[in-house]
Symmetry: C2
């Protein structure tokens, strides 16, 4: 097991009716900016609940943090916050709103010229405005971690900024807010959470006996819950377990002392930037092909995954690995996602376009840093 340093200070306030606690958890003298996405909060009743909870606080609203939050958008929020002397932020939404708000929190006190610098070099972040979240879409785990992703459409860039300073102080998770989510977002959320675990689990090295079990536990839960979520999204316990799985899938609880991969996420970004695919769609496309290309390197763990997660108990390790990859792709399709580029109307030329971009960045991703642009080309060719 590798040495590690773990801390996750975010408090989870979880369950029915918990949005009402928002007001009592934030000191009454704080000047709050509440950040929203595109407007769904007004349709599902969350907006009213949040505003009622904050009725005794000074608070303003910022609307319009888009999926894959854009630097130019969040900088408008930063200006608004500075103009209003905001000293507490509340993100109401899914991973994109939360990620965007994390960046806003860092950028408000930043005195440098170009705050994009903080996205590329999060070690330069010295001060952060405190932040809480009200989660409306289980998927990214951003409500309980210190990760964020920011895009800059002007320059076709998308970067992760990872810093302990991004941890929300608390996050409110009321499973009832998921009852009215579009089915597509549920599909994406399930696959997103599943893939977060795979990136921390599907590695060849390490000796994380307990971490393997916990990763497998989330996978088994998602496989059990996934079809139920799509069938009846108003079943409280189903949605509560889904919501909990998504938070636990990326809060470092399953990654203590074990290697991680993340090649699928990194090379998948290209499909969002160039062709506008949802994040989860990029993962569903790239991952089965990545596993086929890297099968030899990952055979041992794939066989374990086959046995423990998919109950595939017969055949050689290679056969188990093959079946497990098939099962994984099937699961993504069962969850309603397409798994081939052609199904999204992406032409075969995309492979070389992406290759050239990755080549220019001289990439070396994955647990063994061996997913180079050439390997990525092979992976993309495999998912046409």
């Amino acid at each position: 097991m590798n040495n590690f340093d773990f801390q996750n200070p975010t408090r989870l306030i979880f369950g029915k009716g918990t949005i009402a606690k928002l007001g009592t958890e934030i000191p009454s003298d704080k000047r709050i900016m509440v950040c929203f996405g595109g407007g769904s909060a007004k349709k599902n009743g969350v907006y009213e609940q949040v505003k009622n909870a904050l009725s005794n606080h000074f608070n303003i609203e910022f609307w319009g943090i888009e999926p894959n939050p854009d630097y130019d958008t969040v900088m408008k929020a930063v200006t608004l916050a500075r103009d209003n002397k905001i000293n507490y932020l509340v993100a109401v939404g899914g991973g994109s709103v939360i990620d965007g708000t994390k960046f806003i929190a860092h950028a408000i006190p930043y005195t440098g010229e170009d705050a994009w610098e903080l996205a590329i070099h999060p070690e330069k972040i010295t001060k952060t405005t405190p932040l809480a979240t009200v989660l409306t879409l289980p998927a990214t785990g951003s409500e309980m971690n210190y990760r964020g992703v920011l895009s800059r459409r002007r320059t076709q860039e998308k970067v992760s900024f990872i810093t302990p300073k991004s941890s929300p102080q608390f996050s409110i998770l009321d499973p009832e807010v998921t009852y009215t989510l579009p089915k597509k977002q549920l599909s994406n959320g399930i696959v997103d959470a599943f893939m977060h675990i795979m990136e921390q689990y599907m590695t060849t090295t390490g000796n994380g006996i307990l971490m393997d079990r916990w990763a497998e536990g989330v996978l088994l839960s998602l496989i059990e819950i996934g079809p139920k979520v799509l069938e009846n999204q108003k079943d409280y316990d189903t949605m509560a377990n889904f919501m909990l799985c998504a938070s636990m899938a990326l809060n470092d609880f399953v990654s203590m002392g074990v290697p991680q991969d993340w090649a699928t996420h990194r090379i998948g970004y290209e499909l969002t930037v160039l062709y506008g695919l949802d994040h989860a769609e990029t993962l569903a496309v790239v991952y089965p092909s990545l596993l086929r290309v890297l099968k030899k390197q990952k055979t041992e763990k794939l066989a374990q995954y086959a046995e423990r997660v998919w109950n595939i108990t017969t055949g050689s390790k290679e056969e188990k690995a093959d079946k497990a990859i098939e099962k994984t792709e099937e699961f993504f399709r069962q969850m309603g996602l397409r798994t081939r580029m052609s199904e999204y109307g992406i032409p075969a030329e995309a492979v070389d376009i992406i290759y050239n971009r990755l080549k220019a960045h001289n990439i070396a991703y994955g647990e063994n840093k061996n997913v180079t642009a050439e390997v990525a080309r092979e992976i993309y060719t495999g998912c046409l």
Copy 2:
């Protein structure tokens, strides 16, 4: 799933050579008291590592926090700390040293007359001296939770004090410190961690799909690791996984939104107070009998436990439950613990002695509050 409020702010610094970080993690102006147990820290090299790490800090030592820490002992430490204007504590030891130091941390700033009051009414704790730990014995999980147990031998009392204020700021876990632990302590530690999970898992109600998987994950890991720990306690990865399991077994990571039981712990205390059994020994004695007595109530979960943890796939639910109880008792014995009162030389009259004590307290323990003194008598009769 039940509503819940989760937060665990303790930082884990885990791995080889990490004790050296103790000094850099505590501000240099702090006046530190380091609390130890009976002297093993001087034999295994931990004392030297701790003192070296703190060579630039003002620090004094308090020795002698015993197993099942006693109120009178820790109050001596409180006096020493007050006399030396101590404002930071470091516990070096296992659960008893850490629990005792947690109480010291609360008692130092307490201005009331009798600090025992804080053990019985932890809600009265308003100020706490900051605390870090260097764990030397994986077992209780105290290094990463806000629980503590304190005894008062003078009055034959033993109480749990549970308060978020007890969370250590950070805990250092170097698996190499376990290489020289007496085998008996390893046996106890494994059973202790196993039982912590069972108390949070073996319940009839609730719908914690993910929490069940995570609880089962710790159990499966302990069953895999246990024999290896006893066979070769100098295998780094084995001991690292054991250490991690013990911390994760009682830090609220597996109890989000699910019911808990704790009857075994509560009624087991009597065997420590009256007959001096180690904590883990009391659990190994009481639990198999408790499961037999409460089998009807817990059949569903016992059958799930049988299937997922012990791979018992044939027979009726009742038969699976019976086999799982047998397997559990066998595992405790495999770990080197005796599971019957008579094996510890406790006479049959103990049953009535304990019954009368529990009756006087009018107990109603367990997930359904139905473990009364009468039920406890039945349980104790079953483990003679």
